[in-house]
Amino acid sequence: MSAAEKAQAAQSTRNGWLLSTPALVILTLFAVGPLMIVVVYSFLAPGQYGNIEWAFSLDGWRGILWTKDIFDDTYGLADANVTIFWRSIKLSVLTTLLTFAVGFPTAWFIATRPAKSRALWLFLITIPFWTNLLIRTYAINEVIRNEGLLNTVLIKLGLISEPLRIIYTDTAVFIGMAYVYLPLMVLPLFAAIDRFDMRLLEAAYDLYASRWQVLRRVILPIVKPGIIAGSILVFVPSLGAYVTPRVLGGGKQMMIGNFIDLQFGQGRNWPLGAALSLTLLIIVTVALLIYVKYANRDTAHGH
């Protein structure tokens, strides 16, 4: 490479960086910056009335799982926190599974419609997005509360005498989240199934596969990218859900999102809140890494 060519290449590299500068500045200011603030806060001491004190402390991180006994200053496991973590993970996994169980047939149905009606079905799926999340959540509340639609109908039909207590339970949060996040599962699944070559079904069926084997050995492996995308899109916001557990869990069935909010509000413990936020981030990242790795290993071996 001649000197002139080298200079040209260097110039082109410089130009590349120069052109990316606005994006880099925005990313630094609005993505990396706030995250760094959170990281710093998590290592400071809480202020008396919220905010922080500029003194190094590990109490924020310790507070995630341990609680200081107010009498003898010894640390014990914070049962309440563990419960909240466990509930968050459990409900998020269940939500992902339920949205997949409901979303897969839905997406399959839409993808196998004629092109004309397919657009209409997709449009119907996206309608809930047009409505505010809070309003949709209150709508679910209206359906499942003790005097709500579901219980009224069941009692009128004489199927039950006492209203089913669903509202303000884990089940309520679960139902609510599954409803809210269902489109996020359906859309990537639809995209994957839409690309699926339906002629492969006949090929598999011709080669002695039973219906179950066709699903298990042909359809699922091929639409897997859609399943992975949908699962991530549902699992990640579920884990950090705030509005749904707040409205349908009644403030008692807290999830991590509510717990974090509590620290920055009434709890007046910003370092703990910051540490919890980072923990959430770590859980999501680790979960995704494991999930994607597991899914890819499955592909590599083909069985």
């Binding site: 002629r199 492969l200 090929a203 598999a204 069926y205 011709d206 080669l207 002695y208 596969a209 091929i222």
Partner: protein, 372 residues
Amino acid sequence: MALRLHNMIKIKRERVTLSQQNAVEARNAVKAFGQGDNAVRALNDVSIEIRKGEFFTLLGPSGCGKTTLLRLIAGFEMPTSGTILLEGADITYLPPNQRPVNTVFQSYALFPHLTVAQNIGFGLQMQGRPKAEVKATVDRMLALVKLEAMASRKTSQLSGGQQQRVALARALAPSPKVLLLDEPLSALDLKLRREMQGELKRLQTETGITFIFVTHDQEEALTMSDRIGVMSAGKLQQVGTPREIYTRPHNRFVASFIGETNFLPATSDGSTLTLPGGYQIEAPAGTKAGQVTVTVRPEQVKLSPTPEAGTLPATVRGVVYMGTDMNYQLHLADGTEIEACVVSDVTGEAALAAGQTVGVRFTPGAAQVLED
């Protein structure tokens, strides 16, 4: 001696009955799509017998019902009425995964998430065969289609011809009683197609499996098949060996779909056919009296430079040089257009010029009287 001869005849007869057992039989198969008045009969009362071990071709233009018939045999469609038999057993309503019949699809339909070897082993695996057996068969199939080096490739990394071989191996691996091929060569270019035609014929001979091959390409049908079934408008027009189909077409459709041909009106008295211009030829046995249509292949039309007695006078309208052949367009006195195909001489010059009046004769026995 006489007894031995008698026994030999008996043995031969038994063999004949065995070999003539049908691999597939369709009886009065009807397939209608749509409801009521809008219903379209893709198959209209088709009965056919396909013998064990033969290379049978269903030939016809697109939309003639040949693929529908294939799909009925594969089990992807159920007939509206009629029966499908496999080696004598009724399989009309058996799902495809319970029929020992495999298909090579026009689109190949290879599984994109599996390797070549896994694709070929898929059928055996679904049948629950032991792993060692699956592996052995897959290796054998890979060798059969000469793809040993590609075993662990993904199918998307293969060329069209290689994908075609994988599709073949995949369908042959479970040793089906019948292999169905739905226009498998239509996506290949001409050179590759010629190669695969030979390959298919070789595979069929080596495996001894009954092949039912669907195509709209008459040349493909003629060169590869033991027997051909010509279809049109949901009906089976004629079944026979390539030679029978070409030299003895039953009707106008079969005559014109396979190869080039001439049609001439004629009057029959049962033994002699009189063509316009008074040219007379012997009628094939069983010809009815009255007005008939006669067909003659261009290569059976002989020309003499002058309209001698006992020939059909015609005027040369045009000459087309086609390399091996010279094609003459001729005009008969009554306005009928016919073609003659003559092997080119060494110079490639036309012996006859446009505008010249010539005498036309047909090779004895070449004229065929059509049913319709």
